[in-house]
Symmetry: none
Subunit: 220 residues, 2 copies
Amino acid sequence: MILVVDDEQDICRILKFNLELNGFEALTASSAEEALSLDLSRFELVLLDVMMGGISGFELARQMRANPKTKDIPVIFLTAKDTESDLVEGFRAGADDYIAKPFSVREVMLRVKAVLRRTSRRVSGTLDYESMSLDLDSKTVTVDGKQVPFTRTEFEILHLLLSNPGRVYSRQDILKIVWRDDVLVLDRTVDVNITRIRKKIAPYSRCIATRSGYGYFFQP
Amino acid sequence: MILVVDDEQDICRILKFNLELNGFEALTASSAEEALSLDLSRFELVLLDVMMGGISGFELARQMRANPKTKDIPVIFLTAKDTESDLVEGFRAGADDYIAKPFSVREVMLRVKAVLRRTSRRVSGTLDYESMSLDLDSKTVTVDGKQVPFTRTEFEILHLLLSNPGRVYSRQDILKIVWRDDVLVLDRTVDVNITRIRKKIAPYSRCIATRSGYGYFFQP
DNA sequence: CCGAAATATTACGATTGTATTACATTTGAC
DNA sequence: GTCAAATGTAATACAATCGTAATATTTCGG
């Protein structure tokens, strides 16, 4: 789900329409205040206008960064201003990208996809939960000090879930991120892999939780 | 120290700012000519725009490869062009990676880290594991006090794997690091060389481990 | 509690990925 | 140029992985 925040209604409409055309879900808000009234943690990405009455886009982004629940959500700024100080301020506020108005819709879509593709999955180091550890360099999983053999697919799924504990990923989300674009696979395949992962991380099976009707998530 | 070469001032500024935010030192140049006026040998990595007035990024990379002092400095190309032939020319000119514009800043940072991690190999001294020793100066391998004849390719691969025990290197990683940039070789070639290495280090064969779907790594 | 829908589990065959061998081509020393 | 070593490719054998379908179990809404 993508959130568009802009005080120009037309821009909100155009972006929402095109995002949906590209297979994304989208919601709009016409001010930072309206955005703040929403549960921001459920968005995967925020497209954010800088110049708005009331709270500015920069300020909203800063507030998002300050909140643990939203600090990792990527933000792309939309702005007519493109002077150096604004760019710097934008990135200081935590921009993942920057698009100057007037923009082409096509360019926005490209950048959205580019940012989402890399969203919040670390590529190096380890992810830990209690005595379970996932090493991104050696691509190994350790439970209670014992190394557990994981296949590539299983590893990638656990990596994804563990990257955002508590966040629910639909089967489609998981398919989009873990599987390559060109392979076509059934939703049910995810279930099977979840079962395999649960079996392998035995003591923590219940940490891979199911949200019936929605998908899966890692439950600390 | 990382050098950013791009004729768009904004891009230079954004990248410099974010590199510094990520703990790197960075310098910028707005043309290949300006870059050449610097002492390139002190940089660990160069982010290089392809399309620039005057000397192109490709040409600058070629000149760097021709100079023994700079030939091993990794280069990441930034480019709006993304057709296959450009990719081929890029890698021929010595690219370690390739980022198409528009890019997300987060992605650039990830790739910078990835390239630096890949290329951080010691060049002198010895690498030891139990009774196996790899001498980087004489380029010889010794197992149980006996010198084992290694070919150049085999030596380089073992060197790489032994540089980061436990870290998984994909076949593409290995190809990029061990083979010359202008040589085009199949992934499967790596398999064959791994087999040859395993045979030669007999007692430690199983230390060269396979991570199916990912690549190979040295297992202490 | 009941039925329907969603999820879990299992087994198995197809697919993909890896190992090994043999062979052809290239390289380099003499 | 010749020979031997080096090295990439292709062919084949082998093994692991992964997706599907069939079946069991759980969850959800009333």
